[in-house]
Structure formats: C-alpha cells, structure tokens
Symmetry: none
Subunit: 216 residues, 4 copies
DNA sequence: TATGAATGAGAATTCATTCAT
DNA sequence: TATGAATGAATTCTCATTCAT
C-alpha cells in the first residue's frame, strides 16, 4: 500500500484515462450532433471542460479523434449485445427480443445512428483500420443464426433464411424510422416520436419479421 | 437572328437557367460527398466551372443552396415515383414492383441517400419551409394504400396493415443496406455491392414484405 | 481607348500584380529579418498593409511564399549583374570592378545575404524547382571567364584559373564579412561596419584577388 | 559500494552532467538543422531521449538553450584551434596548414556553419553576454599574425597584411563554399561535395592566399 | 450575367512552457 | 533527478462571403 503523498503510477494513469474518456464522450456528442465536418474542436474541449491542446495530445487530430469515437461507440454496442442471452428462449420469443433490443438500442442511443451515418458518408474510411475491425463483428449474427436454426429444427420457422440479410432488415427498419424521423415526420405530417408511435412501430416490425419467418 | 452583342432576353434567361442548374448539380454532388459541413463553396464553383460569386447571386448563401439541392432531389424522386403505374397490376405484383422501384432508385441515386442523411443530421431544419412541403408527400403512400386495400379485398393480403409503416419498412431495408454498405461490408467481411449480392438483397426484401402481407 | 468607367482588364491585373509585389516585398523583409521559421504570416500581412488571406490567395502557403521571395531576389541580383559591362575595360580594371560590384551589392542588400542563408539552411529545397534554376545562373561567371582569358592572352594574368572557384572566393570574402559581422565584431572587438572599415575590406579583397591573378 | 536506493551524490552529479550534455548535443543538432525559429523543444527532448521538462530544468528556456549551444560550439572550435602548433613550421607551410585546418573544421562540422548563420541572423544577440566573450577570441588571429610577421621578416611574405582581414578571407572562402553548397551546386550545375571537388577547392584557396601573401 | 480581388471571422493545429508529483 | 499531464497564447491556414467593376 502506498501513502497518500506518493500517488501510484496507476492513479496518474487513471487521470490520463479519465481525461481521455471525458474527451471521447464530448467528441461523441459533438460529432453526432454536427457531423465530422460540422464538429468544432473548440466546442469539444469546452464540452469536456479540458484544454483543447489536450485533445491533440491524446488524439493527434480531428480525424483520429473521430475514429476513436467510432471505435468506442462500436465497443459499447457490442458490449450490450453480448449481454443478450436468448439461448434459453423459444425461437419466436428470442427473435422478438432481438428485434426489441435493436430498436431500443437505437432509440436510446440516437448518437449511434448519426455517427454511423457520418462514418458511411466518409466511406467507411475511418474503420478501414483492420485491427479494430474484429470488434465490429456483431454477436447478433451468430445469435440470429442459432435462433433461425432452432426454429427451423422445431418446425415453426421456414428454412433458407440468411441471417445476415435478416439482421440488416431488422436493423434497417429501426434505423430508417429513427434516423430519418425529421424528414419522415414532415412527409407524413405525423409525429413519429411519441411513445404511442414508438409502440406501433415496434409492433409493426415484429409482425413483419415474424410474419416472414414463421411457417404459415 | 440575334446580333452577337445584344442577345435576346430569352436567350439570356436560358443561360441563367442553365447556370443555375449547373450549380445545383455541382452542389448536389459536393453536398452528397462531404455533407453540409464538409462541403466547400469553392469546390462547388469549381465543379460547376462557374464563378463563386454567381452561386451567391442565385442562391444567397450555403444553407439556402443546400435547401435548394434538397428540394431538387425530392422533386426528382417524386417525379420518378409518379411514373410508376401499378393500378392495373395484381396486388402481389404491384407490391413487388414497388419494392423493386425503391431499391433501384436508391441504388442508382446514392447521392439521394447521403443527402437525406445530411438533412436529418440537421434535424430536418432545411425542409421546414412549408411552401415546398407538398412536394415531399410521396405518391407511393397512396399507391401502397391502394394496393393493400385491393389485396385485402380480393382476400390474398392480410388486413390491418398500415401503409406508412410498411413504406418505411420497405425504404428502410433498402436504405440501410445501401447507405451503410461500407460499414456493413467491413462488419460482415463480404462485399455487398456485387450484382449477385444486389439480386440476393432484392429477393430477400420481396420475400420479407410479401411473406408478411400475404395471407397464409 | 477605354472610358474611365470601364477599367481595362489590364488595370485590374495591375492591381493584382501590385498586391502580389507588395506582399513579396513585405515577405522578403520579414523572412530576411527572422528566417523562415521565425517569420510570421501575420506580420507579413501587416507590413504589406493587406489582408492575410490574400497572401494565401496568391501564394498558397508559407513555404511557397518563401520560394517566391527567393526567386524574386535572384531575379533582382541577376538583373543588376547583367547591367555590368566590363568588356571594354582592361582585365585588371574589369576584375576590380567585378569585386566592387559584388561587395557593393551585398552591402546594399543585406536581405540577400540572410535569405541566402535561410535557403541553404533548408538545404536548397526551395530552389530545387528546376524551371527557375536557369535564372540562377549568374552572368558573372561568363564575364569572369572572359576577363581571365583576356588577361591571360595579354600576358598580365596567370593561366589555369577556374572562374567558378574564383567567383566563389570573391563572393565568399564579401559574404562572410558582411553576413557574420555581428559575430566577427564581437570576436575582434572592432566595428566592422564603419565606412572606413568597409573601404579597408574592399581594398584588401582587391589586393587578394589581384595578387593571386596577376602574373608576378 | 553504493546501495541501489541511495546513489552517491557524485554519481547523481555525473548523471546530471551526462543529461545536460545529451541535451546540449540534441539541441545543437536540432538548431543547426532548423535554425532557432524552426527548432522544436519537443524534438530536442525526443532526440535526447529525455523528458522535455528536464530541458527547462537545466536551461531555463529556448533562447538560453540556444545560447548554451553556441557557447559549447565555440568552446569546441577554440579547443581544436589551440591544438594547432604552427610555430615551428616555416611561414609558407604554416599558412597552408592554417587554411587546411579551417577548411577541414568546417567540412567536418557542418553544424558549426549553420549555427553561426543562425547566430548572425539574430544579430549576435546571443553572444552579447560578455562573460563568455573571451572564449570567442580565436587564437588563430595571434597565430596568423605571428606567421605573417615571420614571413615578412625572412623576406618571403609581403608586408602590410592585416591578419584579421586575411583570417576573414580564409574563413570566408571555406564558409561560403561549404555553407551554400546547395545553392551553389544548383547555380553551377556541378556537385561541389565530391572528394575531388573538395581537393580542388582546398588547392584553389591555398593558391589564392599564398599567391597574395608571397612576395613576387 | 459574370468575374477576379479582397476580407473578417473562425478553425485546426502548434508551441513553449508550467504543474504536480 | 525525472516525468506525464496540462495549458494559454499564438500561428498557420480556411471559409463563407462581399466589393468593385
């Protein structure tokens, strides 16, 4: 044990870590609100309550900071996904849960949607870094494959469903609704962000997915 | 015949129109490639081969130019949508066509996707202008409502399907796949942009939509 | 002839030219006083009485501006050199004149010395541009070669003198004295920049050069 | 033997000395490569493999560090100069040796040239410190005066030669050639840094100096 | 209608330097 | 003695926009 007057290397590191995390969170918010081009380093520093110079100290430049934010955000969602335990549920319920999870995650993490948008606007250039690419691989695909197989085995699900295609469909149905809600609200002249509308959407999505997967 | 020194008013107008369109196209490309914040007025002028000052002459400022681009892009898609004539087709075929149309339009107009992204990043602020709101209203909703009703009437489609929800699902499934293809390709380690992959996607989407709508 | 109200393209160009030259002069002074690293773009703009942005408009960046300054400075000295007409003078006088010219030019253009220093500090990187390299070629070498040859022919000069080596010696003797006058004054504890000291230096240099070249 | 935890004061001092020298060398290289304005404290620390803070601990600030480098560099050359023993040589040989020494020192210490440049760019401000002025005084002047006097006395050298002027000429001829080799190579289109070119230069310089000094 | 010149405000990035331990 | 974290003040460069013709 160390005395209070001679702080551990660990403690100093923890400070550095804390600063980095503070910056990362501030940057995530700024980038998600304004996009890469519209984000301001000044504002990020201000949000973080830290000196702007420190951002460069830890993250080199704006692009690299953006990349670090993306990596962080992916790490976060993957972590949540891994917590999902659908193995013991019957296939229909499991699939429903998976749809709900995706919907809720997007709903509760609107910044994830806009960051994903920005990342794609810049052609995925920021995740070209293959080192981190592995962490991108969603465990949901495996889960979904398992669910589909179990359902098919017990005779309730149709066969021949590509889990990747299905995952993209599930994600896309949530993503488009939530990510483009401003435009869609304007087009349809109805508020898509009320709790009621949210329930209806979730219900519709489950219907579509299960309507497709369930045998007859 | 007009003398070289005093062109007809008409001709000058035609020039003016041409310039405006040239700018609009250049701006559309720039905004779709870089987003609103990343777009550069200089580059737009360069792309258009026209003097930067002229952009301000016609479009006042960057924001208004962006808005004009959005309006143009909506006008374009609505025009294409209106050409779709699905009335005489049997409901199942009509619905399939509608899915195909959406998919193909997004595929052939990738700038539409990124511009829509940008518009939503900025919270739809650019289409708040009610004057143009009308052009936003997609005729596809009416068509879809009609198809669903016809299908239900003849007994092949299930009832109680909200055309707005279904439309969002159809659009979302195409949009997410195409708009996030860079990220998705990285995640799944498979090229989503080959012709074969495109066919498979379209086929999957039709299966999902029809699997959901078709009675039994 | 053009009316006063419709200024010529030429006139506008002349304005642009004037701005560029103003910038160039301001930059020359700043770079020669502070070196490339110590020069400040802000100060250059201030010296020029022009907007800083304009510097970038015309010269792209600091490095390119420095390069433009070097080119300008070379152009200037070459122009002066070309005015020297030594052909009709007897070789001894001609050589003396050449030494005087070099000395006086350096004396009257201290910025030339410091800029040359900076250019060499940066390893000549700034004049690697071969396009402009031609203008670097000093006419003095040709003149010197002619003088040496005439002197040798008439029997007053020794033979076998390499004009390039001699030119470097002439320049070096002036350059070192003037360019390092601060250090040298400190070392020798005597003011090297009085008119008397200048006369003595010039006289010494002529003695050395002619003492070497003159046959016996 | 000393325990690992409480090193002797002496040892610590030795470490301190070593650190200071390491910094000084790193700084010398950095300043000579980039000039005062272009040098970076970060890079100096990196070159030295030591923490940046330590530089400030020992040298206070950048300017003082630069000054320390200059002092060091002068100390070095003076030390070498003092090793020259020309007293026992006949005047002509002694003078030749002195030219050779100057040439070789500059050739082997290119950083000396650039540092001298920088010092003069900043108007000798950094050696105004009279305390160290003594070390500036080159012993070569005394030596040269002696040689000239001996030569004159034995009748081989001309009289009336100012040793300061001659020293400046000797130094200048080497300095200009070596310090501006990039520019000169570009101007003359010939590589001045080959061994052959070096020999020719040295030979030329001896010819000039001796051609001037030798009687008849 | 069209254009080159010019600008002020701002944005990213850099740098010497100091803090805390 | 030694170091990683942190900072304020520049500094280079950018950008949307306007002037003048």
């Amino acid at each position: 044990m160390t005395s209070a007057s001679t702080p551990l290397v660990e403690e100093r590191l923890r400070d550095a870590d804390r600063s980095q995390n503070t910056i990362l969170t501030a940057a995530r918010d700024e980038f998600s609100e304004h996009g890469l081009g519209g984000a301001r380093m000044d504002r990020i520093a201000e949000r973080a309550g830290l000196n702007k110079r420190l951002i460069y100290y830890y993250f080199e430049d704006k692009e690299k900071l953006f990349q670090a934010v993306l990596e962080q955000v992916y790490r976060d969602i993957r972590e949540e996904e891994r917590k999902l335990n659908l193995l013991h549920l019957k296939p229909e319920t499991a699939l429903r849960r998976l749809v709900e999870f995706t919907w809720n995650y997007y709903l509760e993490h609107p910044e994830f949607l806009t960051l994903l948008n920005s990342a794609n606007l810049h052609r995925g250039r920021h995740l070209a870094d293959s080192q981190k690419a592995r962490q991108l691989n969603s465990p949901l695909i495996e889960m979904l494959a398992g669910i589909l197989e179990r359902g098919r085995a017990e005779g309730t699900f149709r066969g021949g469903v590509d889990p990747v295609q299905l995952y993209i469909s599930i994600a896309g149905m949530s993503y488009f609704y939530l990510g483009n809600n401003h435009t869609l609200s304007a087009i349809f002249g109805r508020d898509l962000m009320t709790p009621k509308a949210h329930n209806e959407r979730l219900s519709h999505m489950c219907d579509v997915i299960l309507g497709y997967v369930l045998r007859n």
